[in-house]
Subunit: 201 residues, 2 copies
């Protein structure tokens, strides 16, 4: 498509555009074959590029895969949710956000990190540091605000309670094969979290 002012369209991807395409292809290849079963040849084919362009950036398939994982995690930082003024709404919003993330490429990354963590626990540690812990901090902040509002008693909370939301989400995803639905999210908040927190209705 040539326009009078825009000049000829380019026929090749270069620089960052190519890296993005390679990342997408690598993620698809890894989802299909696992990190350890994926190949540079496969990724190059899927991207529609030459191997030399891959090897100019990454020295092997593992390095490329890890780059994809880290980039995906960086792109999946949990959003900062507005203070709704209600603990229940805050918790629901946080869980819905997490569920939304898991409907995207982060799910593939998480699955592979889990498989890899037998031999390299640093990968899931990275996931925790970049995704898990920021979300935990958000939940703590929500609870502190709720205490300030008098919604829950001001007392220490067993850290296990903070662990319940990601644990259930993960269990649903990995063993039931589905991202947690909204009905379950509401039940988790109303029937598990709020009672444990001593929520005052």
């Amino acid at each position: 498509m040539t326009t009078a002012t825009a000049g000829p369209a380019s026929t090749r991807r270069t620089g960052e555009e190519l890296v993005l395409a390679v990342h997408a292809a690598a993620l698809a290849e890894i989802a299909e074959h696992g990190l350890r079963g994926a190949s540079m040849d496969g990724i190059a084919r899927r991207t529609g590029t030459g191997k030399a362009a891959l090897y100019r950036r990454w020295s092997n398939v593992r390095e490329l895969g890890l780059d994809v994982f880290l980039t995906t995690m960086a792109d999946s930082s949990p959003a900062n949710y507005p203070d709704t003024g209600s603990l229940r709404e805050d918790l629901l919003g946080s869980l819905r956000g997490f569920a939304g993330l898991l409907r995207g490429p982060l799910q593939t990354v998480l699955r592979e990190l889990i498989s890899e963590s037998t031999h390299d626990p640093s990968l899931v540690a990275e996931f925790q540091a970049r995704v898990g812990e920021p979300m935990q901090a958000q939940r703590i902040a929500m609870l502190q605000r709720a205490m300030g509002r008098g919604e829950i008693p001001t007392q220490p909370i067993d850290p296990l309670v903070f662990e319940l939301p990601p644990a259930i989400v993960l269990h649903r995803l990995l063993l039931c094969g589905e991202v947690i639905d909204d009905e379950t999210t509401v039940k988790l908040v109303d029937n598990v979290l709020l009672p444990l927190l001593g929520y005052r209705r």
Copy 2:
């Protein structure tokens, strides 16, 4: 070691003995390379046997891997715990049993099933049917006995509550890289499950 009455020791493994050795080697190879990255050559080498002996039983590495998974799951059926007369002790016993299972080969299987379930959810469904659901049934029976004893009120319980124990165990295993320790098990029972169940002390 030849004894006067036992006859010469055999130098080859045959039949079931060889299958067990192949299974162990396959599990180790899969733990290291993933199901999709493992090879028949690698498993044969690790077993110390010829490929023909493998191919006489399994037509490819995937079939061997799935056989290993199913066998491991069948060997990992949850034990039947004695009725302790106390809900707390029952729950602790059940969770400790599950943790014990995850210290063995079942952990490798679970990790691989999770990685595989992107494309083949039937595998984790099998895990749920053979391991997850029998444990759930045990927990339900424990709660019914506790209701009969008056330890907890006789009322419907949100199924999410039954999901919390395996969810936490899984979360700890997969994202923290450790089988749940006994202190956490006790806290989970005392600070999460029993309060949610309305346990009367």
